[in-house]
Symmetry: C2
Subunit: 555 residues, 2 copies
């Protein structure tokens, strides 16, 4: 029988414990800064494994977390999968009925909860249908020591994490887990219907981890200090806790609801070299840095994903802070990383603007994956940077189905390919650019208008804080684009409208120009922090808009 | 069914063809320099696949190569495995009877042969037992165009490579190959008994490729230019043709029997950034560079493996040429890479000598592997840099058995671990140092003496060109060390002997000092270019040696 040892997560931890035992894990929690090393981390992971055994958790069981980014959450990342169970990270920002659906669908047997999120979880338990949804849960564990335990709680039975693991041995006799064993699970916050579960096998997480390490990925080495700002409930913080461990690098976890000042302080005090999160986080940091003194000179790279990184953000970090933005794209279904926008050999000689333009694309697929872009006629599009099509992907860390959702599988997969729902162009050099979600692309008069390209153009204006563009129904043209803009304070809205429309008409075909620019105070966000076009569309789905009539929110 | 797409080699080529279509493959052959790009490479690989189909090769068949390092050999690296067949690289330096054994054991159906090696292969075919051994072979293919075809040859039927692929389409409908399919095969030149076959599955080669790319491996990016000097018949040139392709980097193949001048020229003209080979190659290059003008300033890193890199070589490349030596260790059974000697965070502040000393160790295991070091009493040794034991390894690119060799499997594997036969120390930082092969360690008076450490000390002397130490039988002490030294030209041997013995007594326990220093003209080498201690032992297995009697070769 030809073969080798299975691909599992535990050897990454084993190596970090043995070869990098004194590299640090630093964590900001309600208790302040916690700091320990891989040796102690390994001991505590072993204790957690023992405690899970004691709680009756068996191989194949799902164990949920309802937590921010901190060291205890990180302990579950290795502790749960390494006994053959499945780490199920729940997004605490979801509405109660989604949380109920998720826990019930996954049949979680233990749930780890942050003190600051206990009330939120309790509300999902107490809400109608909660008792039934949480029937499988045999233990809730609050992430702290016994001081965090409330006098009473609907989360029952409840213990605290430190008591849960306290009496366990720091040695654990790890089982041989199959590479085909499900090791992780994350639900996509589907824009329609109930969230869909994506399972990650040991092998998928192994392969994804290996794919993040090289230069074509995130280029992570032992001397790096990684701070994932992207939540650990969001596709395993894009896999960074695993990647950091595999590299033997230092971890920094920013804890519950870090604000820009928290992030700047952690970067400065812990010497963070690589961090990651959605664009709004970095817009916030840039604003903070404009007005406050902070030394972020240790920072070399920011991975921006989740939604498109504005070119202006890439340029500002480069020019003002000498920080490389690694624009990346992925999906929950892809563990998640698909592309990273690195320059190719020779491109560093291009004019700065051309470099920024390349880097503002979603970038190049990392080694190991394959893709095709399927146009409206079902054939592969030209790589000319102009033609649009839906991106299909496959590879060793791309799932081939959803958990218990045959009807979604029918729709989203075809012959091993994941149909991403993203509409993209591919330029002659192979750089992917997302021009829209299949459902957000604006179909106007038989042509497609990319809402994303319009948004990027609008957000590049100095007086714009946030902007989004949605298609609203139109009798004649089917759909027409309308822009929703959050201006910076004190900006003259009429002047800004004129400037924005002139800018758009200059950059794009004339018929791409939004029929209206509406000023609002805040763009509604989804549970994962993305602009919620669905909410905007529902709120403004009124054809009269495009006739130029003033809606309520435009004063 | 949870899972993702299989891990196979073809997507690496697909990505290089699509994203790096104009990166070059440069090859030195009997025809001079050949130069083309990944686009043309991909076309030719497709043609090769078509030609293999035409020759009746089917999934599961083994196809052999008997070639140096050049572009056509590289074409077989993707062409053969990607149709589901198995690339079997044969070491042409082996004696006829080993070649016969290997071809017969593997049942190769097609053999690709270099023109310069055709005579050697023909001799194996013509030798006694050859007809039977080569019975499975249905086609020999000479690596060149029709001008290389001889009038007659015992290699029958014989065609040339360019004619073989000429009429095939540059498009090929690649099959879905299982990750468990054997994709590669290499025989270890066992020091005792017949060579043993090691099979590499698609998954093993995929995992090994991914493991070579990160900083902890060889740190390969798209802007690198890689030149494997290590032969492509030697564990797939340490996987470099696959790694280079996965990274989208440029390939340089130095062709048949490159001498130091050829290497220096290729480095200079092609801008090589990373090269790899056994220590003797780099000793040769250093000698050449001392006496010739050559600009090797593009060169950033040399991977040295196969046998231990002398610290003096690491220092000289660093100090004189600003080239980092990446000292690496692996085995045929490990695809092959296990360790690379990178400095850990903070170590760059150590004094230069301490840094060189660390880097002269075999180094740190790359992410994904596990090891243990088993002492004489069967338990794991202390990581104190002193205790000796046998290194056991396991992981996703470490084989768990030999091809058709149950008796060897019994001996060399235990519960999924490969027993490497290497005797090592592990220092407190986790750096492996090979102190000997289990069969070469010198057992003297109940203590172990490391022949390798003695050799490194001897080779550090300026007047020594090559040196090796073997244990010779001794009535009282069981074994005693004897040194064999190739001095540089014009050196006074008596002075050198005194200096060497004084140096050894200074560095090691007194009883480690060799009982004799014998000067010879050349150290016999194995088929893979390593010092053949077996030959030395056979030649000098005479206890009288250690009584100080002069053997023939000591004048």
């Amino acid at each position: 029988m030809v073969g080798a040892t299975d691909q599992t997560l535990r050897p990454f931890l084993w190596r970090a414990e043995k070869l990098f035992s004194d590299r640090e894990i630093v964590s900001r929690t309600h208790e302040g800064i916690t700091r320990y090393d891989y040796a102690e981390y390994g001991d505590r992971v072993a204790q957690l494994a023992g405690a899970l055994d004691g709680a009756g958790v068996e191989a194949g069981d799902r164990v949920a977390t309802f937590c921010w980014n901190h060291h205890r959450h990180f302990e579950t990342y290795f502790g749960i999968p390494s006994i053959g169970a499945q780490l199920h990270t729940i997004n605490p920002l979801l509405p109660d009925h989604h949380i109920q659906h998720i826990v019930s669908d996954a049949e979680d047997v233990v749930v780890f909860v942050d003190p600051s999120l206990a009330e939120k979880l309790a509300s999902a338990v107490a809400a109608e249908g909660g008792e039934e949804a949480f029937e499988s849960v045999e233990q809730f564990v609050l992430m702290g020591d016994e001081s965090v335990l409330p006098d009473e709680s609907p989360l029952e039975p409840l213990t605290d994490y430190e008591s849960f693991i306290a009496d366990e041995s720091t040695e654990y006799d790890w089982p041989d887990v199959s590479e085909d064993a499900p090791a992780g699970m994350c639900y996509t916050s589907g824009t329609t219907g109930a969230p869909k579960g994506v399972e990650y096998t040991q092998q998928m997480l192994w392969a994804h981890t290996m794919a993040t390490l090289p230069q074509a990925g995130l280029d992570i080495g032992a001397d790096d200090v990684l701070m994932p700002v992207v939540p650990m409930f969001h596709v395993n913080a894009w896999g960074m806790p695993f990647s950091t461990t595999a590299a033997g690098a230092k971890h920094v976890y920013p804890g519950p609801a870090p604000d820009p000042a928290d992030l700047a302080t952690l970067i400065e005090e812990e010497g963070v070299t690589l961090t990651a999160g959605v664009p709004t986080v970095w817009l916030g940091l840039l604003e903070y840095l404009e007005e406050n003194d902070a030394d972020i000179s240790s920072l070399e790279r920011i991975v921006i994903g989740g939604s498109a990184a504005p070119q202006s953000v890439i340029r500002r970090f480069d020019e003002e802070y000498d920080v490389d933005v690694l624009h990346a794209w992925g999906m929950t279904e892809m563990s998640p990383i698909g592309t990273v926008s690195h320059l190719k050999p020779g491109m560093e000689d291009l004019p700065a603007e051309e470099q920024y333009a390349k880097r503002a694309k979603q970038g190049l697929f990392v080694p190991g994956l394959e893709f095709t872009v399927v146009g409206e006629d079902g054939s592969e599009i030209e790589w000319d940077g102009e033609a649009f099509g839906e991106l299909w992907v496959r590879g060793p860390w791309v799932t081939t189905d959803y958990f218990q959702r045959p009807e979604a599988n029918e729709e989203d997969f075809e012959e091993g390919w994941l149909k991403t729902g993203d509409v993209v162009t591919v330029d002659p050099e192979g750089y992917i650019q997302i021009v829209d979600r299949a459902k957000d692309v604006i179909k106007s008069g038989g042509e497609w208008i990319s809402s994303v390209e319009l948004e990027n153009a609008l957000m590049a204006h100095d007086d714009v804080s946030e902007a989004t563009v949605v298609g609203v129904p139109h009798e004649r043209w089917q759909e027409r684009p309308v822009a929703f803009v959050v201006p910076k304070q004190g900006v003259d809205q009429d002047v800004l409208t004129d400037e924005l429309l002139a800018m758009v008409k200059d950059e794009f075909p004339k018929w791409w120009a939004p029929d209206d620019v509406l000023f609002i105070e805040e763009i509604p966000k989804t549970a994962t922090g993305k602009f919620s076009k669905k909410d905007l569309r529902e709120e403004y789905a009124d054809e009269s808009l495009v006739a130029g009539k003033a809606p309520e929110s435009k004063e």
